[in-house]
């Protein structure tokens, strides 16, 4: 039985940062407008570095970018619906 990811940070801007035992840091974001859904995206090393350097402000920007361009992230195989 796989362990549930641990919530590292929860933003009121409809996203969470999770620590997954297999994938490491994972961003969970609510995307969509009048039809909403959640997606998860494992952070790359570059994104982890940016988060270490800039903190929550970086996550705010990354989550907003995922919302704006979710189809593009999904086409690249980065986001997976929850």
């Amino acid at each position: 039985m796989s362990k549930k990811p641990k919530v590292v940070y929860e933003s009121d801007k409809l996203y969470k940062l999770l620590e997954d035992p297999k994938q490491g840091l994972v961003l969970e974001v609510v995307a969509g407008s009048s039809a909403m859904y959640a997606v998860r995206m494992a952070l790359t090393q570059a994104e982890k570095d940016q988060y270490s350097a800039k903190g929550i402000a970086y996550l705010d920007g990354l989550a907003a970018d995922v919302v704006k361009n979710e189809k593009s992230y999904r086409d690249q195989g980065r986001t997976v619906p929850v």
């Binding site: 009121d12 969509g32 009048s34 909403m36 959640a38 704006k68 999904r74």
Partner: protein, 214 residues
């Protein structure tokens, strides 16, 4: 006396010509009223007429069960908080009625592929066993305006003017509250029915119960 009347008339004219007498955006903050007017000027569309045509008596949005349980339930305001306001895109209530009617199958379950297609979502966004909630918002009594590309929640396909690129009527509600939340699809309703003669499941969740959308 004449001077007093003149001052009063001038004040009344200034109030009316400034547009602050518009009842439809009076519930919005001053900055949001300014944005509402700017968007209408840019798009040549009127939010009040749009709401009367498509969002009366309500607007609606859909969320899957995971989002409802983790990001919606128990929150005082609907939508995405940002800079002191909470932004929520809603579709026309009648439009959502039509989507759910079209997706409802003869056995009472819903075909998520139809819902995804009509709302412009990528295929397999909603997991068939994941459940779906419809949340209604009383748009005419809320602060609302036509959305713009810069609003939180707008995606790269955003089109100005109150309709999505797929033709779905949409409006932005600020700091909205739910008038009604209804789970239209519960877990498991889209799983294939067991073959005749197959043993019934014991003890587990049947998952077959649902409530009607209409």
């Amino acid at each position: 006396m004449k001077r007093t009347l003149l001052v009063f008339a001038a004040a009344a004219f200034a109030l009316l010509s400034s547009g602050s007498a518009r009842a439809d955006i009076a519930r919005c903050s001053k900055p949001q009223q300014a944005i509402a007017k700017a968007v209408e000027t840019a798009t040549h569309k009127n939010a009040l007429a749009h709401v009367k045509a498509n969002f009366t008596p309500k607007g609606s949005y859909l969320v899957n069960d995971y989002v409802y349980q983790n990001f919606v339930k128990g929150k005082p305001k609907l939508g995405r908080p940002d800079g002191g306001d909470s932004y929520l895109f809603v579709a026309g209530g009648k439009f959502i009625d039509g989507v759910l009617r079209a997706a409802k199958k003869a056995d009472g379950t819903y075909d998520f592929t139809i819902i995804e297609h009509k709302l412009g979502l990528p295929p397999a966004t909603y997991k068939p066993d994941g459940g779906l909630w419809r949340i209604d918002v009383n748009v005419p009594i809320s602060c609302y305006r036509l959305p713009r590309a810069a609003d939180p929640g707008a995606n790269s396909d955003f089109k100005p003017g109150g309709f999505t690129s797929g033709g779905v009527p949409e409006i932005l509600v600020l700091n909205g509250r739910a008038s009604h939340a209804q789970q239209v699809v519960k877990k498991g309703v889209q799983k294939p029915a067991p073959a005749k003669g197959a043993p019934a499941r014991k003890g587990g969740k049947s998952g077959a119960k649902k409530t009607s959308a209409n």
